[in-house]
């Protein structure tokens, strides 16, 4: 039990394309070496233009996603509008920092489009809420080094939704193949201003 982040195993990546974003994650849930399930959900829908994926301990991912949905639902009811991705990022950051000394063992990956302008937005943060916003891609996972390498080589600006799907899929699949505790298939969501495409990939099932 040397690293609690590696107990369940996960890989999440998000990328920016032309007027779209994509977010992808593997599907394995394990208890160290033992694989428990191969259809575990790691990406959660917050609203129809905002998705969050989590790397780290599965129980904390589920708890944090429920807490976030709770706060977000209240926000949307009170303000009668969809939240901006940037404001959502700050909400997540505050939630994680509120547990500064009893932290959640997770790192979130946020991907979404601005509700009015449809500008793409991606961000990630560390386990206590330090945000990182980028223009190209964000990665988190037990194979994050591999993901960084894959994304850096494959990503190009202004990819169309179909090309973005190919790019993010190749990046994720090849990275998790070099990692023992992540893989067993992948889920890829491509978010555009008027539709969301969800695809499930079959990769090396080991």
């Amino acid at each position: 039990m040397s690293n609690i982040f590696e107990y369940n195993g996960s890989a999440v990546v998000a990328m920016v394309g032309k007027e779209c974003v994509a977010i992808a994650a593997d599907r394995r849930l394990g208890m160290q070496a033992q694989t428990v399930t191969t259809d575990f959900k790691k990406i959660y829908e917050m609203n129809n233009k905002l998705y969050v994926g989590f790397y780290g301990l599965a129980t904390d991912a589920q708890t944090v996603s429920n807490r976030l949905k709770f706060q977000l639902n209240l926000y949307q009811l009170r303000e009668n509008r969809l939240i901006k991705p940037k404001a959502f990022m700050h909400m997540v950051s505050n939630l994680l920092y509120s547990r500064r000394f009893g932290y959640y063992f997770i790192e979130p990956v946020i991907a979404g489009l601005d509700p009015k302008t449809n500008d793409p937005y991606i961000a990630t943060m560390d386990l206590i809420g330090c945000p990182m916003e980028t223009k190209d891609f964000v990665v988190a996972g037990t194979c994050s080094e591999q993901l960084y390498g894959m994304c850096e080589s494959l990503w190009k600006p202004d990819l169309e939704p179909d090309d973005l799907f190919e790019t993010i899929s190749q990046a994720l699949m090849n990275a998790v193949d070099r990692d023992a505790v992540s893989g067993w298939g992948a889920v890829v969501q491509v978010i555009e201003k008027d539709q969301i495409t969800t695809r499930t990939l079959k990769s090396r099932m080991d």
Partner: protein, 233 residues
């Protein structure tokens, strides 16, 4: 040590009214006149700042306060109650910014301030606030003007007057208001509305004017007020 009453002092009368709130509204109606007008591209709020004696140093006290750089607030009624509500409103605005890194929408601030005012009509051992507030602000795309009453009720207005003479003020505004007012016309109209019930000479030191537009909320300084007054005389 600080024992609180566990029962409310604001209770229903047989006719179904909360008499304390009615009395609070009387305190508001006896307060200095204030006015608010929403234009196409901004909101103006103005208030009379007459003092009982020429010995007052009117430059130190402001009746128009900003809650954050987008939202301004003015009152009719009891000054000390206003100060407390401004403190609470500022904390609410800054707390929102801490959570979302976004400027609080005017309607959200109004709801939260009004909730505070309502608490004081139901909590133990306290009395309602003796002020009605006018909250003016410009959200991302459009201007808003809200009134908050001692009961905790809030209303969105195109134009309104509060305090002494408010009935005449509102009648005046009903005649003068139209949807195509620009902010400059609105300031002019607001000052004229105050002038209706003004005793004596109106100068840049005995009224205050604030404007909320796309660039934020600003209280006008006396020199700017003087220019608007010159246009009226």
């Amino acid at each position: 040590m600080t024992e609180r009453y566990s029962f409310s002092l604001t209770t229903f009368s047989p006719s179904g009214k909360l008499v304390q709130i009615e009395y609070a509204l009387q305190a508001v109606a006896a307060g200095a006149p204030s006015v608010g007008i929403k234009a196409k591209n901004g909101v103006v709020i103005a208030v009379e700042k007459k003092h009982k004696s020429p010995l007052y140093d009117e430059t130190t006290i402001n009746k128009i306060e900003s809650v954050n750089d987008h939202i301004g607030i003015v009152y009719s009624g009891m000054g000390p109650d206003f100060r407390l509500l401004v403190r609470k409103a500022r904390k609410i605005a800054v707390q929102y910014y801490f959570n979302y890194h976004e400027s609080i929408p005017v309607s959200q601030l109004v709801q939260k301030v009004a909730a505070v005012m309502q608490e004081y009509t139901q909590s133990g051992g306290v009395r309602p606030f003796g002020v009605s507030l006018l909250i003016a602000g410009f959200d991302e795309d459009r201007p808003y003007l809200y009134q908050c009453d001692p009961s905790g009720a809030y209303f969105a207005w195109k134009a309104t007057a509060m305090g002494k003479n408010y009935i005449n003020g509102k009648t005046f505004l009903e005649k003068r208001y139209n949807e195509d007012l620009e902010i400059e016309d609105a300031v002019h109209t607001a000052i004229l509305t105050l002038k209706e019930g003004f005793d004596g000479q109106m100068t840049e030191d005995n009224i205050e004017v604030g404007i909320a537009n796309v660039d934020g909320f600003q209280r006008l300084d006396p020199a700017e007020v003087k220019d608007y007054l010159a246009a009226i005389q």
